[in-house]
């Protein structure tokens, strides 16, 4: 029974929590609702009910022997079903709660309770599908029992957001090189932050050694070795910006340079600030806000390297490489360089919660699998979604 001019795949049916009456079970109610549907139905609500019930019970155990379609004036349909292999039959009525209650000749109290409840719970556009059952009797003599109702809502969604995996494509976004670099850098930055913090804090130092050791030297050594590795990682990442074949990793994916991206930036920001409910334009790689955030964090990383190596250069101002960092020491003075170096660590540490949050958010709220993408390299993209950089 098709009653809308809406393409089927744009209708989304949501079933609320079944509300059984008189101590009935949710599961029975759901089963009855499903069995009350005509055989071979194409109605989306019926399909949803059937699919929900079939998750609990094998519907092949039942067969329908008769069906009285819904009559507009009575606003109910009646199905006659029986369990396969048995003779016992049962009647199931579905329809407006009012109509079903009328059918059941429910007493005042039940009626009042059911109607009130249905009314209260039918917020957010839900409507109640009432269900009753009866033993078959000669015409008109059945005594119907009200089983309860199921909240149902049908809405239209322009782009189908089905949650079924079959509706997703797997797209590879990040090469393994980038992922290795990312996690290597994360590790190095954490090591650098930890050793840096310990280097600057005597409280930890005394707690560990009570003096007499080369504790601080080891900390420094670790810090500097990690610093050199971070330099290598940075060089590789920068080289990758220009050499990578993966276009999501090349330099133009970093900056929101295109006019389109700038426009989208506004929408993305609005979305994050809850000024806008519609989903902002989709990106496979980074959306413009991410582009800015990551470009900025690259900048901070470079600043960490620069200040770090400028401080390190004090050990050997004539060194073939470090000599190029020495001029940096004279720019603001070494003390302020130290200060900047330490502040940069805090920028990283403050960046991590937000960054991780947004990644997890992309996985759970937006269901775009960005978190897993930095591990596995790919992400799930909904079929039919239009990507700005796709």
């Amino acid at each position: 029974m098709k009653i809308f001019d809406i393409p089927e795949d744009e209708i989304r049916i949501e079933l609320g929590d079944p509300a059984p009456f008189d101590g009935g079970k949710r599961r029975e109610l759901m089963l009855a609702a499903a069995l009350g549907a005509p055989v071979g139905t194409r109605d989306p609500v019926d399909l949803a009910l059937l699919s929900a019930a079939s998750r609990k019970e094998d519907l092949r155990h039942f067969e329908q022997t008769a069906f009285t379609p819904l009559e507009p004036r009575l606003a109910r349909s009646i199905a006659r079903v029986r369990r396969v292999g048995t003779e016992e039959e049962e009647l199931i009525a579905r329809g407006e709660v009012d109509a079903i209650l009328y059918l059941c000749r429910a007493d005042e109290a039940t009626r009042f309770r059911a109607e009130l409840q249905a009314e209260m719970r039918m917020t957010r556009g839900y409507r109640a599908l009432g269900i009753a059952k009866a033993k078959p009797e000669p015409k008109g003599n059945e005594s119907w029992t009200f089983m309860g109702y199921i909240p149902i809502r049908a809405t239209r969604h322009k782009s189908t957001h089905s949650e079924e995996p079959a509706d997703f494509n797997y797209v590879t976004v990040w090469d393994w090189q980038l992922r290795v670099l990312h996690w290597l850098s994360v590790f190095l930055i954490l090591v650098l932050s930890l050793t840096g913090l310990l280097m600057g804090s005597s409280r930890f130092i005394y707690g560990v050694t009570q003096g007499y050791s080369n504790y601080l030297s080891w900390l420094r050594l670790t810090h500097f070795v990690a610093g050199w590795f971070l330099l290598c990682a940075a060089i590789l990442r920068i080289a990758g910006l220009f050499l990578a074949s993966n276009r999501f990793q090349r330099w133009y994916a970093l900056f929101p340079v295109k006019k389109r991206d700038l426009n989208n930036l506004v929408q993305v920001v609005q979305n994050y600030l809850f000024c806008r409910f519609e989903r902002p334009p989709h990106y496979i790689g980074h959306n413009p806000l991410q582009q800015i955030a990551y470009t900025a964090i690259f900048g901070v990383g470079l600043a960490a390297l620069f200040t770090g190596f400028a401080l390190y250069a004090l050990y050997a101002p004539d060194h073939w490489l470090l000599r190029y960092f020495v001029w940096f020491d004279d720019l603001f003075g070494v003390q302020y360089l130290r200060l900047a170096h330490q502040l940069i660590m805090w920028i990283f540490l403050a960046f991590i919660p937000i960054h991780v949050y947004l990644s997890i958010r992309a996985d759970t709220v937006e269901r775009e699998g960005a978190l897993s993408s930095i591990v596995s390299g790919g992400r799930w993209c909904r079929k039919g979604t239009k990507f700005e950089d796709g």
């Binding site: 009653i3 609500v45 600057g200 007499y212 409910f277 050990y315 004279d330 919660p353």
Partner: protein, 391 residues
């Protein structure tokens, strides 16, 4: 009659030494000391002994240089330091002789005679030594000598100079006077004399031996010693206090004095946490030490202030803290980087919490705001078109 005390034009330095009764032994031990000092920065390859001998040979044959020693905007501390250094007779001689032609503090003539001496000396090729900064603001009125601004005095004296040596932090970049807000617009010699390299003997004041060693080198070789990027003689300023510091072992072990009177301070532990700027300071204090090798601040229990580094008044302060603080704009409260950092991380975590809460609320609202359900066939609704047909 010829003044036997003086270094005459035709004399070599060796002649002077003989005449003044300086023994060969004294002379050679001086050369050994200088060789050790100048060689300390690793600037010269080869054995120290050979070097000392070469230095002795060259020094003996050195001719008397004409020297002009200016004192501009300064406190005279540098010259005091220099005068205290006369530890050996030879050093005494060198210092005595270089202040010969013109020096405000040490010269005998005064008034017109002094001006005359300066005019004569700077008319010929000479070595120019400068103490003190050059105030440029307001036409240089903040320091005038004989009615001329410091800049004018300096430029005239430099015109015929064969080498210019800026002695002390004032002459290098302005030192205390140039500290923010630099009311007199003080700059160093190198900012005025731009057409040739200026040797900067850094420090407030420099150790006397670095000054005399620089001059000895000039006497022996007729040119200035190799310099670092900031124009400082590498032999003295190519080494970091921190790398030669007697307390370095406790730095590496992580043993720090936290207060000037705590147990660790008494044990002679590293002063890093009391604000020692040794790790950022290039100076020979830890090797040459002060007052004839008696001691130097860190040895005596006081952190290095970094006085050989440029703008140390602005950049190495607070002297007794490891890191400068950050003045929070508006409130004027000074916070450490770590306070600010912890606050930033807390703010970021809080922002995440708030944003996720807001996400939940927004999702809820968005759901609320969703429209009524579409017509449901199971409830007897029909296509609007059908209903119209019926009517």
């Amino acid at each position: 009659m010829k003044d036997l005390q003086q270094w005459a034009e035709e004399d070599t330095f060796g002649d002077l030494l003989k005449r003044r009764g300086v023994s060969r032994r004294e002379f050679l031990s001086f050369c050994g000391k200088m060789a050790a000092l100048i060689g300390a920065g690793g600037v010269f390859a080869g054995s120290r002994t050979a070097w000392a001998q070469e230095l002795a040979g060259r020094l003996e044959g050195a001719r008397r240089p004409s020297v002009v020693y200016l004192q501009l905007q300064e406190c005279t501390g540098c010259l005091e330091s220099l005068l205290r250094s006369a530890s050996t007779p030879v050093e005494e001689l060198i210092l005595e002789q270089i202040s010969l032609d013109y020096n405000e503090l040490l010269m005998a003539p005064s008034g017109e005679a002094a001006e005359q001496a300066l005019a004569t000396a700077q008319g010929k090729p000479h070595l120019l030594l400068v103490n003190g900064s050059v105030p440029l603001k307001d036409g240089g009125v903040y320091c005038t000598i004989g009615g001329r601004s410091a800049r004018d005095v300096l430029e005239r004296a430099a015109a015929n100079a064969t080498a210019v040596v800026a002695i002390g932090a004032c002459a290098e970049y302005g030192c205390v006077q140039a500290a923010a807000p630099n009311p007199t617009g003080a700059v160093g010699v190198a900012d005025v004399i731009r057409d040739r390299p200026v040797v900067n003997v850094s420090g407030c004041p420099p150790i006397a031996e670095t000054i005399s060693a620089t001059l000895t080198y000039y006497l022996a070789y007729g040119r200035t010693p190799p310099l670092d990027g900031l124009g400082r003689p590498l032999f003295a300023y190519g080494q970091r206090i921190h790398d030669k510091c007697p307390r370095r072992a406790s730095f590496d072990a992580g043993q720090f004095a936290e207060r000037f009177d705590d147990q660790n301070a008494r044990l002679g532990h590293c002063l890093y946490r009391l604000g020692c700027k040794g790790p950022a300071t290039f100076a020979p204090c830890a090797t040459i030490e002060w007052n004839d090798g008696l001691s130097f601040p860190i040895k005596a229990g006081h952190p290095c202030l970094g006085c050989t580094e440029r703008h140390f008044y602005d950049r190495m302060t607070p002297f007794y803290r490891r890191l400068p603080g950050i003045v929070v704009p508006g409130i004027g409260v000074e916070a450490t980087a770590n306070t600010i950092g912890v606050a930033a991380v807390a703010a970021s975590v809080a922002a995440v919490a708030v944003h996720s809460a807001a996400t939940v609320i927004a999702k809820h609202r968005a759901r609320r705001a969703e429209p009524e359900s579409l017509p449901l066939a199971v409830l007897g609704d029909r296509k609007e078109a059908d209903e119209k047909d019926k009517d």
